[in-house]
Structures are given as C-alpha cells and as structure tokens.
Amino acid sequence: MTALRRPAPAQDAYRIARLMRSAGEMMAPERLAAIQPSRVSASRALLSHAIRGRWQILCKRFEIDEKGNGVAEYRIDIGSWRFSFPVFSFEPSPHGRTGRIIGRAWDMMGALIEGDLSQVDFETTRNELPKLYEGRATPGTLIWCRSNRSGRFFESARQALTAGRQPDVAELAQTCYLMRNTGLDGNGTFGTKSFLAYEADHPLRWSLAAQMLCAYMMRVFAQDLLQHLVRLGSPQAPDMAKDLRRFLGVGNGSALGLMLFVNNHPRLIERWLFIREEAIARAKAVLPDDAGSQITKLLTLVDKAITFRTQDRAAYENFTRSDVLAEELQIIRRAVADLLQRWQAGNRFEAEPFAELAASLEGRVHAEAMETLHSLLIELVPDEADALVDGLVIDEELTGRPEMPVHRLRDLIRNDYAWAFKLNLEVPASERYVWYKSVTAEEPRRGLATEVGQNVVNLGLDLPRLVVALDRDLSAADPNLSTARFLFAHPQHRAIVTRVQALAGTSLHSPHADIMSGSFTPAHITRLLNVGIHGIDKTRDFLDRNLRGVLFHGAPIPEDIASGSADELWFYPAEPNL
C-alpha cells in the first residue's frame, strides 16, 4: 500500500493506509475540483527538482527586432544533461488571434530539445514548427510549444519600464503573467520523443516534467523579451524588479480536452491522486518535535495562503471567491495556532496531532480551504513527496485477464463501479451531450446531441452506461464462463472489460460522474488537472468549461535557481511592494 520504491515497514504502511481517503470520498467531480496545488503538482515538483539540482539556464542568443520578430536560443544544463530551447518570436497580430487552439497567430513558438542544437536543426525547427500537425520535429525533440503575449499587460509593463518606472503591480496582478501558453505537445506528437522512451536517468522522465520545463522557459522568454524590447526603445530603462519577476508566472488556458485526457490516462490520474493522498497521510503521521517546529512551519504556510487569497484580484464566475476562502483559512489558522500553543505548553494528548487537526476541521470549512490545508501539510514531508513524484513514470497500456470467470468480473464491477449503478442514466439520448473534436485544429468541443448530429463520433467515455450494459450481459451469462469466452460472444464489450480488469485493485482513476449529462460541469475536471496536477494558481472559470490561470506564480527566476538562493517555499507569493 505504498508508492515509494522502498516500502515502509508493515506497521508504517498500515498507519499510512489508514490515514488515506477512499475513492468514495474523493472522486466526485466537485470534490476533485477542490484539490489545490501542492508540492506534488507538476510545476511545483519541477521547481523542487530545479532548486535541488541548481539547474543552469543560459541565454545563448537573442536576436529580436523592436516589433518582436526574430529568434532566441537558451541552454539548460541539468546535471550531465543538456537541453536547448530555441525560440521563434513574431510581431503580435490581431488577425486569427484567440486563446483557443483554433487560433492561427502566435507570438512565440519554441521547442525543448535534447543536447546542443546544430544550426541545421535550428533551421529545420524554424521551418517545421509553424506547420504543426504536418510538421516533423528534429531528433531529440521533447516538446513543441507556442504562446501569446497578454497584449494589454505586456504593453503596460513595457510602457512603464520604458518611462523609467516599475510596472503597476495592481494592474499586472489581475492575471499575473506576461505571456500565456497556448499549446504544449510531446510524447510522439509531430515526431517528438515518446515519454516512455526517455532513458532511465533522464531528468525529465517523470510525468509532465518536460511540458513543465517548457512552460517555465516560456516564462523566462516572456520576461527577457519584455526587457529586450524596453531596452531597444530606451537603453537607460531600469530592469524589472526581481520581486516582480518572481511574482509573474506564465499564463495557461485549458478547456474540454482535459476531460478526454482523463478518460485516456486513467493510470496517471490514479497514480497522481494516490501519491498525493500518500503524501498527505505521511504528513498527518508526522510527530512534531518538542519545540513544535513542524506546527510553526504549518502556521507560517497558512498565513502565507491567507495573504495570497486576501490579495487575489482575479475575477471568478462560479468558483469560490478568494476572500471567502481567506475567511475559511482563518478558521484553520486558529486551529493550527491552538495546536501549537497546546503542544508548546506540553499538552500533547494526540498520537497523531496533524491527523487529528485535519479530522477536526473536515466538514467545518470549505472544501477548497480543507484541500489547501492538505496541500500545505505535504510541505512537512518534502523529501518523501519528491520521491513519490520521481516514481511517476506511467505506462498506460491496459491488459485484461481472459481467464477471469464471469462471476469474478461481475463482482469487480459491482464493487469498483458501485457509483455508476446509483446514477440516473435514463436521460433521453436527445438530452445527452456529445464530446467531439472539430476538424479545425482538432479542438475538443461538447454539445447537445441534437445540435451535434448523429454522424459525429462521440469521443467521451460513457463509463457508467458501458459498465451497466456490461453488467446486464454478464448477469445473463454462465457465472463460471471465462472472460475470453464471454467476449467471444459479446465482442462489443472488449474495451470496457479490458479497462475494468486492468484497473482492478485501483480506485482513483475515474471521476464518479455521467459526463454525458447536462448536469455535469466540465470545468470541474479541467480544474483537477490544472490546479491539482499542473499546479496552476488563480484559475478563473469561463462558461463552466474554460479555465485560465497562472503557472510558476512566485517561482524563483533562473539566477535564483543557479545560485542556490531560491526559496523552496516560493508559492503563494505576496504582491511585491515596489
């Protein structure tokens, strides 16, 4: 019951397992949406690795004119590994511009490539990148990416620096970024290297690491571009303040495609939710030292979160406002402060004070505040959390068990998918939604079946109906028949049977929801990915289906990382006071 490579002793394993939550408590979409960024979120995990390894990021060339056209190239040294990040920069154009992937105008395109980049490969990348779906990456390419400037905020910052003053923090804090990611593609797409082909000692081998490094490089480039353009117009202009550079992250927009990602990556979802739960459980099991220094650390982090929420200037639609969460966090603060006081006074009656703290708050505070506490608790076990992330090398191949008797398969379904049988699935087909991709840029879309039409391929995984239909046919079969022989008679069930059998024994892989229903909110699952797994802050919701937020908000800048002066607890930054 451990995801660590070196299993804990049996007694500890039992203790950890006992402190972990069940799928029934976690897998409702609204509950998954409440999960907050933490040390095991991909962007934060990347920075933990970078800080620990003192990664070196060097700008090798920056040849961009005052309109924004030109090229740049960066070198990234990670231990004995070297990577190149060529950038192709373009003058912003209003034509064909949108945050959706149907956009046809990008302000930058880049690539993360293994090793030093030859001039030939640099030019090939320059020619191939704009072709996207019909382009081919050069050898050793891990990721292709593209992003757009945040026109208003980028220009505002540029004008301020050109005029000799620092940008207006209050204005920039509305979104907290200069450029926004509009696409990160790897794992074989466009001929990039397959993730599972990364070598055993590859520093970006763990899940989402390569994409996150690419996103971090977008942030580096955005700030360098701003400073470069300012200097072209005003050689005496000041540098942007380092505190502001740390405060500004890189934007990210995500939407319906992440639901399809969850459908297609059940092992990644399961493993990530599992290691987060394991890290939280390990933190809950920590016994504070005599001074209560772990409680003091937690109190400091809760204070940081309260300040962060209090200062949040983002506008939300249906998501809970930050001022509400700041109030909820005050309740948590009082509980932590009380624990610290008792602990330091010698009143230590709990065997597991952090577990007791969490249990005492569960149900009393907003789910997002509770998940904030859980995320902060993980900082009490940083080494264990980092080790858990390193184990996120995931093979999504699903293999069934042909010898399994029908009665056993039926038991599995009734146990693992009990939630599906409780749903009302009798929604008329005309009232169901269809998940599909447009021929235009393969944009994922979701519309009422009556609007989409019958000839469109539904790409959404209708898990509850597939499971219920399978159970119906299983119930009519000989209970001792093998799965192989059942599938011979019912080949239409092959995909769902394989999935059920391959994922048996795991429980955190699939949201408990009817995603074809009008009552399903796509943004809940987008939020799980963006906030929990990617580690995006201030995710603003649009029409219950699109999210925009900021990655690396408060993260160290390259010189902090290289010099070893980076703050490990960089997240939840306070607004800089310039």
């Binding site: 209003p94 034509h95 064909g96 511009r97 949108t98 945050g99 959706r100 149907i102 956009g103 105008a105 090793g115 191939e128 019909e134 081919r136 990456a137 050898p139 050793g140 026109g151 208003r152 905020f153 509305q174 979104t175 794992n187 074989g188 797409t189 001929g191 990039t192 290297k193 397959s194 599972l196 082909a197 939407a255 319906l256 506008a315 069934g400 042909p402 010898e403 447009s438 021929v439 944009e443 879309r445 519309g447 391929v457 597939l466 799965t483 192989a484 022989r485 599938l487 011979f488 080949p491 239409q492 069930h493 092959r494 995909a495 394989t498 649009f542 029409l543 289906r545 699109n546 925009r548």
Partner: protein, 236 residues
C-alpha cells in the same frame, strides 16, 4: 537520444502515439462497434510495425464491411474459431484471449482459426501476446492458422512495444499523409454552431458576447464565419 523524426522526403518515421491516433480515427470512420476499436487499432499498429503498413487501406476497407457476430467457436480444450470469411483482425484478440485462458487454466494454450480473410494478418497475435508476458507462435496455412502461446523466457520476446516507442515505425511518407488526412473524417466539420460548443466566450451572430472578456483578445472573425446573418465579421 533516439527519437521519431522526419528523415528522407519519401519516407518518414512515425511514433506509436501518432499511429494509434490515426488508426483509431480510421477505424472510427469504418463505423465498426466502438468497443472493438482499441483492439483493432492495436492490430493495425502491430501489422504496420511488422511490415504491413501498405496493406492498411485495403484492410480498413474490409473492416468497414465486417460482421463481427459471424465468428463462431467450436470445442473447449482445443478450440477452433470459424471466421466465416471475416478479416483476421476480428479473430486476433479472441483467439489470443482463448489461448491465454487455456494456458492459465492448465491447458496447452493452442487455438485454431479457420476461414479468415487475409489469414496471414493473424501474425499480429505474436505481437499482441507480448502484453501478457507470453510468446505466441502463429503457424499459417492455406485456410487455417494455429496459435500457440507459452510463457516468454527471453526479454526480447516481449520487447516489440518498447522498440516501437523508442524507434517508431518507418513508413512511406505519401502513404502516411494519405492515411493522416483520411483519418480527419472522424473529426466533426467546423461550423458557427460547433464553434459555440467550446471557448471562454460565445459570440452571437449579431455580435453580442456571452461570457466575460477579461484578458480575451479573440479575433471574432474566427468565431463568426458562416454565422447566420452575421453582422460582425471583423475584430471586435
């Protein structure tokens, strides 16, 4: 430092992910039962990896006319699958699963397949079996094939998937792009109505915007093309 990449103009290397995406879409286009698509997609991947890329268009044409229920099973310990002239891929997973079941429940792990179209394609079972940690030998005759599975004893016996992940599969570039473009038939046509099914804002034909526009720089002409009686066709 190996990877999948472009090389010569007439040939190229495609990745596992690319093959799966294109083959899955091509199978969706055939309208075969959706529960069969992942299994048939992997038959296509392994057929391509084993040198059958050029046969794919013809195979997909056959699959589009398939009747999976035409297969029948005879015998228990040494089963025989009668394919009724259906394509070999329709029997591939069924035959392998039966062989695995028999092997794991104490039998010999042998299954016979008869009367399959393109019966040589049953050799994909040699690749499919690797996911079970098994080595399969497919002996193909004129109208029948025998599949025998045994536990793999050499790591090379179960290394094909990793090899494809690492090296990709070479393919004639023209053939690949033909398949790629044809696979787009599984995607939905773009339209004004369809564009309303995604995005942070919805723009009505009269230019009215539904949703918040903070930090939005959308060129409305992208959303309004072919809108009924569109009053707005340029950037807002």
């Amino acid at each position: 430092m190996s990877t999948c990449q472009s090389n010569l103009a007439t040939s190229m290397t495609v990745s596992l992910r690319e093959m799966r995406m294109v083959f899955e879409r091509l199978l969706q286009v055939t309208r075969i039962e959706s529960g069969l698509v992942p299994a048939l997609r992997d038959c296509a991947v392994y057929s391509a990896a084993l040198g059958g890329f050029a046969r794919l268009p013809a195979t997909l044409e056959t699959i589009s006319k398939a009747t999976p229920s035409a297969l029948s099973l005879e015998g228990s310990d040494d089963p025989v699958i009668h394919c009724g002239g259906q394509h070999a891929w329709l029997a591939a997973d069924a035959a392998l699963e039966l062989a695995v079941e028999i092997l794991k429940t104490g039998g010999r792990g042998i299954v016979t397949v008869r009367n399959a179209a393109d019966i040589g394609e049953l050799r994909v079972i040699e690749a499919l079996a690797q996911r079970f940690g098994l080595k399969a030998i497919v002996a193909v005759g004129a109208d029948r094939a025998t599949i025998a599975v045994t536990p793999a004893t050499d790591p090379d016996d179960i290394a094909l998937l990793d090899k494809i992940r690492r090296d990709g599969v070479d393919v004639d570039a023209a053939l690949w792009w033909e398949l790629y473009h044809r696979s787009a038939e599984a995607l939905a046509p773009d339209s004004y109505l369809s564009r309303r099914h995604a995005g942070p804002i919805i723009v009505e034909a009269d230019g009215k915007v539904i949703g918040r526009q903070d930090e939005d720089e959308t060129d409305f002409s992208l959303l309004l093309a072919d809108a009924p009686n569109s009053a707005v066709s340029a950037k807002h």
